[in-house]
Amino acid sequence: MPTITIDGRQYEVEEGQNLLASCLSLGLNLPYFCWHPAMGSVGACRQCAIIEYKDSDDAQGKLVMGCMTQVRDGGIYSLDAEPAREFRGAVIEDLMTNHPHDCPVCEEGGECHLQDMTEMSGHTYRRFRGLKRTHRNQYLGPFINHEMNRCIACYRCVRFYRDYAGGDDLEALGRNNQVYFGRQCDGKLESGFSGNLVEVCPTGVFTDQTFSRHFVRKWDLQTAPSVCEHCGVGCNTAPGARMDFSGRDENLRRVVNLYNRDTNGYFICDRGRFGYEYANSDLRIKNVLIARREQVIESTGRRNDKLHREIEPPAALEHLATVITDSQRGRRRLVGIGSPRTSLENNFALRQLVGPGNFFAGLSARDLELLHTLDHIQRDPRISIPTIPEIEDADVILVLDEDIGRTAPRVALALRQAARNNQRDHARQLEIPLWQDACVRQLRGENNPIFVLASSAPASLEDIARAQRLASPAAIVSFAEQLAARISATDQPTTTDGVDSSSTPLPDALEHLLEEVAETLLSARRPLVISGCGSQEPDILAAAGQVAAALADRHGAPCATYLTCPETNSLGLAQFFGPGEGGLEQLLEELRQRDSVDPPVTLLLLENDLYRRLPAADVESLFDRAAEVVLFDSLLQPCSRRADLVFPASATPESQGTLVNSSGMLQRHYMVYEGSGYIQESWRWLVDAVNDPACSDVGMDSPAALLRQWKHCHDVTAAIAAAVSCFRDLPETGPDENFRIEGMKLARQSHRASGRTANRAHWQVAEQAPLTDPDSPFSFTMEGVQYAGATPLQANIWSPGWNSNQAIHKFQQGVGGPRRGREPIPRLRREPTAIPVLLAKQRAGQKPGQFCLVPTWQLFGSGELSNYSDAIAGLADGPCAQLNTADAGALGLEPGGRLQLRMSGAEITLPASVSDRIAPGVIGIPVGLRAAPDLGAMLPAAAEIVRIENPEPVEPGESL
C-alpha cells in the first residue's frame, strides 16, 4: 500500500485510488460536489483542490484536483495550505453567486451537501450583489419536485440518471451560465430510479414530492434501520417518522436508501422509495373491529359483506382466547393462513398457535410450487446466489423470462453496471483508473453480452441487451433445455439426445441464438443466470436451474444464479412448508370435505389479501365454509369485508421482524415509530390472546403455551431459530433488546430533535414519559447513542460537518466498502440437495388457435402495498390484454377493441393493448392490479379468443 503524507502526517492508502476518495476514507474533510462514490470522478466542480508537492524541498507545490489525481507512493500533499483553501473558497463563492438564499424554505436544508461544503470551505459572507439567474421549473411527475434555481451545475443528476441508470429523458440543456437540468418538456421522469436524484443532487433541485406534503427537517425525523417491503430484493431503507398535528399521531414521512453494500449500495427503486404512503393511508386499521350482528339492509356491499364497529381490545382478545380454548378442547378447528408480506415472527407465531397441520401459506399451490422449485435450485451446491456487487461483476448474463426491471428493479440496475465490464477491462489494459468515469465511458466497444429471452419485453434491458428475443414460455423452456444440453455436450454426449428429442422444435430466431449463447456462456469467466417466479411457470425456473447447473459442471465452480421471489418474505414463508404442502387449494379441499359433525372452523388470516391468490369465487367459497374469520392486517383490504373480527396490525416500519429476501438473506427490520391507535404486531395480538384469562385452560404441554414465553420480539426470533433448522442463524440478524453501548440504548431521534414537549402541547403541557421499546435496543427519544460510527444499527447517517447522506463515507471500510462493524448478512442454512437434473415438465401445451396467457408486471401497479400509496396508485395502468401487433392484425382487432378470452373454467373480457412488446402467440395480462387482483391467479394458461369487440362492432358476436 502506498504511503502518502498529508499536511505532515503519514498515511497508508489504497493503491490506485484518487486523492479525494483516499482523504475521505482517512476521515479527512475535503469538500467536493461532482464526485460520487458509485459514479467516480469527472473533475467538473473544481471543489476538491489540494496542493501536491514535488518532494520535501518543494515549498510552493501545485494545485491539483483531488478527485482527478491518483495517489502516488511517497506523495506529499496539503489540504490546509493557504492557496488550496483560498482556491476552494473561491470556487464555492462562485457556485453560490446564483444559488438562492432560500435555505429556510428549502427541503434540502439541514441535510444539504451544498450547505455542508459551503460551511467547510469557510464561505460565510456573500459579496455578490448582482442579479441571480433564474429558471422556470418543470413538472416531473408525482414523485419529484424541480427547483432549478438552486442548481450548482455539478452534473451529478444526469450522470446518475443517464449514465448510471440508463434514463434518456433527463439531460443537461443549454450552456454557459444557463445550463439547465431537465426534460425536453414537462412530464413524468420515466426511469424507475428517478427518486435517487433526491439523494444524488447535492442541493435542493430534486426533492421528494411526497415528503413535501408532510415535510420535516432531517434532524426531526426519527429513524431506524428497515427493509423495503415492496419486492423480494430486500433493499435496506431508513424510513423517517414524526409526530403529526392532524390528529394522526406519528406518521411515516419518507423513505431513503440505507447503505448496505450487499443488497442495494447507494440506490433504491421508486416503488421502494415512494411506496411507503400506504402506512399513512386512510384505509389503515387502528382499532379492533367486530362485525355487526344485525342484517345489512339496502347496503351497496356484496353478498356476505360485513359491517364493522369498533370494540375495545380486551373484549376482542377474550373472544379470541375463547376460540383458542375451544380449539384445544376439540370444539373448534383453528386454521392459520400466513403471508409472504410480513415477518417470519408473525408467521411463526400463527403456526405455533394453530399447529403446523393447520397452518397454510396463504399462497396458491402454484405459487408455492414456484417457490419450492426456486428453493430447490438454490440448495444445489452448484448454484451460488450473488450479492449486488457480484451481479455488477458478471461478464455474461442470461435472462430467462423474468421482467427483472419490474419484479426486482435494483437487480436490473446492477445488470446495467455489469454490462460495462468489458469497458472496465479495456480501461484496465490502458491503465486508466476505473474512477476516471468520463474517460472510461468514452471507451468504445461492445457491452458485455446480455441475452434476454422473454414472453413480454422486459423493462430497462432493451438498450443493453446483445440479443432480446420474445417467445412463448414453452419455447423459452425448450431453448434453455437445449442450451443446457449443449453446454454439457462435450462432457456427456449421451444425455443430449434424450433432451433434444423431447423438446419442441425451436423457432428460427431462437435456433440461431442457441449456438451464440452457448459459446458465450462457456467462454464466460463470471456467468450469471437470471430468472424467477415472474413468469409463474415452474418450468422456466427449472430450465434456468438446468442451464446454471450445466455451466457449473463445465466450469467446475458454482454458477451465479439470481432467482426472484415475488414478495418481501416469500422465500422465508416457503421454508415452513414441504413440497406440495400448505397451498390454499388444499385448505379449500379440506373444508369442502368437512363433515357436519366436525368442529366449526375459525380462519385466522394473517396480513394477506387472498383475492390476489385465488380466483374470487374460490376465496368466497373459502370464507363461506369458515364459521368465523379473524383478520390481522394493517389495511382494510378486500378480505376485511368478510372478517368477523379485525385486529390492527403494524406495517413493516412500525414493527420489528425478520424477512428473507430472494437471495436467502435474513434481514431484520426495526420499528421506526409506534403505530397509532391499537396497532401492534400480529404476533403480539396472538400472544395477548394466549395470555388472556379466558385461555388459562390451555395447558403448558400445548404448543400454543409457547407463546406465553414471548415478551420481546427477539424471543420469537430465537424460538424460530430453535424450531426450524434452516433459520438457525436468525439470532445473528441483530442483538436482543438488552444490547447497550456503554450502557446506552441507540437513539432513534437525532441530538437536534425538537418539540419534545411542544409536540403534544395542544392537549397536554406536562412532558410525557417517553414510549419504551420492549423489542429492540433502540430508544424512542434523542437519548442514547446517535453516532452512526458507533454501530451499524444507527440509521441516521450523520457526522459533524456532514449533515447530508454523503456522510456515509465516514462509516465505510473504504469508499464503497461494507459499513464498519457490520457482519455479513446471515443467510438461510438449507440442507444442500444435489438435484440431478431438474427435468422440466412439459405441461399441457396449447392447442392450435389458442394463445398462451402470461402474467406481465408493472413497477407501479403490481405491488400490493405500494398500490395503496397515492403517488404510485395514480400511475398504475388498468387491466388489459396485451397482444402482439401481428396477432392483432391477423385477428382484425382494431384500436380500442376488447377481447373475450376463454380458459379452462373461466372467461374474461379485457380491453386489448397492442404492441410489439409481447411475443407472438402470447397474451400478456398485467397482474397484481388493485382493480383486478385475481387475474394473476389464473395464469399462466392456454386460452382461446372467443370474441373480439371492436369499438364499432363490424360483426358482433363473431366467433373464431
Binding site: H135, R136, Q138, D168, E171, A172, L173, Y180, G182, Q184
Partner: protein, 188 residues
C-alpha cells in the same frame, strides 16, 4: 429549452410546451437524404445528431419543437437527448430567427476596439435588442464570445461571412445592402 432563455424572449417556446408526441411532423425526403449522407462519416447513428440539426436548420431556418421530434424519431434518440445538443450549440436556433443573423463579438479585443458603441448603433438602426428580430423578419441580433479574428476587431459574423474592422459607417452600409438584397428577392 425555454427555461434557459431570458424571460422576454420565450413566447414561441411557451406555446409549444406540449406533448412531444403530437402529430404532424416529419422530415422531407431531401432532408432525410442530406442526413443519410452524414451517417457514413460517423460510427453510430446518434453521433449524427448535431449534423442532422444543422442540415434541417439549413432547410427550415430554425428548429421548432416539431422539427426536433421529427429528427429525434429519425435518429432514434430521445427528444431530450437531442434537445441537449440543440441547446448547447449557439448556431442551432430553437426559436425563429431573421434571414440575417448577426453575431456581434463581445470578447475583450472587440470590446477594447469599441464593440459596445457599435452595438448601440446597431440597436438604434434596427430597433432591436440582442435576441430580437426586426419586424420585417430580416435581422436577428445575437451576441457571441470570441470569433477568433481579434487582430481585425471589432468583428461580427453574419451567416457564414465575417465582417472585420467594423465601424458605424460600415454597419450602415451593411444594413442598407442587406435590406436591398431582401427587397429584391421578395420582388422577384
Amino acid at each position: 429549452m425555454s427555461s434557459t432563455i431570458a424571460a422576454d424572449t420565450i413566447e414561441v417556446m411557451e406555446q409549444q410546451d406540449t406533448d412531444p408526441r403530437s402529430a404532424g411532423r416529419s422530415l422531407t425526403a431531401e432532408e432525410k437524404r442530406d442526413i443519410d449522407r452524414e451517417f457514413s462519416h460517423y460510427e453510430d447513428r446518434d453521433s449524427v445528431a448535431l449534423e442532422a440539426l444543422r442540415v434541417v436548420q439549413k432547410h427550415r431556418g430554425w428548429i421548432s419543437d416539431d422539427t426536433l421530434y421529427a429528427i429525434a424519431d429519425y435518429l432514434a434518440v430521445s427528444p431530450t437527448q437531442l434537445e441537449s445538443i440543440a441547446t448547447c450549440y449557439q448556431l442551432i436556433f430553437r426559436q425563429p430567427v431573421g434571414k440575417e443573423v448577426i453575431f456581434l463579438c463581445k470578447s475583450s479585443s472587440c470590446w477594447i476596439m469599441g464593440c459596445e458603441k457599435l452595438q448601440r448603433h446597431l440597436e438604434e438602426q434596427l430597433g432591436i435588442r440582442p435576441g430580437q428580430t426586426t419586424p420585417d423578419g430580416i435581422f436577428t441580433l445575437l451576441e457571441t464570445p470570441c470569433l477568433g479574428d481579434c487582430d481585425k476587431a471589432p468583428v461580427m459574423m453574419v451567416g457564414e461571412e465575417m465582417h472585420r474592422h467594423m465601424s458605424a459607417d460600415k454597419l450602415d452600409e451593411f444594413i442598407l445592402e442587406k435590406k436591398k438584397h431582401h427587397a429584391d428577392q421578395s420582388a422577384d
